[in-house]
């Protein structure tokens, strides 16, 4: 078991400052404590004993892999776990995602997933949507086209899990 150094830096703002381009960008807002904390201490990590839906998604370009499992009560998510490996962005996105799902309906989750996807793809109005909560810490990924798939991998698995069960 690896041990992680304690996070000591103060939390910075959760939305990337505007920038004239990716190069020379200050990435401290993206790799902030909240993201690194989810990366190093992921929430809801593991496997469910009685999953109603299990979907694994891979990004063949970088080798990231994420499995999302759902336990459902009708169309309401009762429990969720994720497993897999990848970069800080993919793991933090998965971890923060799982925190938002319990007790919510598939339709409700679908709306959040759509808003989150729009934010990652660069829609600034989505980035201002309070319904995304902590997830807005990932808004800076919108300026990193080559990393958008990392942020969306877990959500893609989640969406497929909900569809496959519904």
């Amino acid at each position: 078991m690896r041990s992680w150094p304690a996070c000591t830096r103060p939390a910075s703002c959760s939305v990337m400052p505007p920038s004239d381009g990716r190069r020379g960008a200050d990435l401290t807002a993206l790799y902030q404590d909240l993201i690194l904390d989810h990366y190093r201490r992921p929430r809801n990590r593991g496997l469910l004993e009685h999953a109603d839906a299990t979907v694994t998604k891979k990004n063949p370009l970088c080798g990231d892999v994420i499995t999302v499992q759902l336990e459902l009560d009708g169309d309401t998510v009762r429990d969720v776990k994720f497993a897999g490996e990848g970069c800080a962005i993919s793991q933090a996105s998965a971890s923060m995602m799982t925190q938002m799902l319990k007790g919510r309906s598939a339709q409700d989750i679908g709306r959040v997933a759509a808003t989150f996807t729009r934010m990652i793809e660069g829609d600034s109005s989505a980035a201002a949507d309070a319904s995304l909560g902590e997830l807005r810490a990932l808004a800076g990924v919108a300026r990193l086209p080559q990393r958008q798939k990392c942020a969306l991998l877990a959500w893609s698995a989640l969406t497929q899990a909900l569809v496959s069960h519904g």
Partner: protein
Amino acid sequence: MTSLAPRSDFPLLAGDPDLVYLDSAATSQKPLAVLDAMREFQSRDYANPHRGAYELSVRATQRYHDARARLARFFGVADADACIFTRGTTESLNLVATAWGRANVRSGDEIVVTRAEHHANFVPWQQLALATGARFRIAEPGPDGLVHPDALRALITSRTRVVAFHHVSNVLGDTLPVREIADLAHDAGAIAVCDGAQAAPHLPVRFDELGVDFYAASGHKMCGPMGIGVLLGRRPLLEVMPPYMMGGDMIEFVHDETSSWNTLPHKFEAGTPNVTGAVGLAAAADYLDALGMRAVQTHERSLARTAHERLAALDGITVHGPGPTERSGVVSFTVNDIHPHDLATILDARHICIRAGHHCAQPLMRRLGVAATARASFYVYNDEADVDALLAGVHAARELFGHATV
């Protein structure tokens, strides 16, 4: 250490002075001489070769012919017609696996590769084995993570038909003893196929002295354009191989029921060839020979050694592959718990280009027990300041991730 080639020779690097380009193992930047040669050909001698009865087409044909002769000289091939132009290493290897493989490999035969092959020298053989019922055997790396000739020797039997291996690994940067492995293959009655994609740009390659039957290389990794490469082969094998692709240029006579094939090299060059690419690649050969391939090798190895030693001196950094004095210009590494993609993003913000990922070598990555590594690779235009920038970037990433900076 200064760069071997002036940065000003490379328009992209000259136009972007802050850029630290450390991904030449993926593709190299282009010298102006190569761009000029391609433009000059298209501006002066451009026509479809081998076809026209007019003088312009004859000139285009001559330029293509001259380019082939230039590449044959660069690669130490006496028989220039055994230097086949392809789109690159991937097509060259697929050509051999398909044209030679389908004609010569049968159920019960064996194909030997190494675990450290690029997918382009792994998947075509794996699929040939599946299609023919041959047994696909993988030579494993030793405890040091590197493939050694003994691992191949242990797998090669009288059933072996092909031994396919890399000259220089694109992931780890180690170099295999090509002649020794070719001899092992030939002693067993097998052919030897060598992936030279990471060797041809970086060290002197004399095909006729290497002893292999086929050798594949890509132009774009050696200062040439994308979309052109070579397959070097031994004439007796090429003569009896069926064609790979059918079409114009590669035929002799086309009857209603049958066809016959053109002579070498045209038999393996169906369709209008990439003459502009060949002219550019010939100019790249001129450029590299003017630098001297021995000097290219020495320069890159020196930079890679420095990068290796400085990275390995930091806490929490693993440098994969051979020791600092044994590697070509490729340095694969991992940093603490920082995923290579996060590292690449952080370096990118500092204008530093590295590769992060599985490097098209998933079978090897599984064995190394890592999903991805970061890879910095050096070429003629890199200098010690690029190594400094890489190290400063790695320090910055460690700081961002909350690691103490050593």
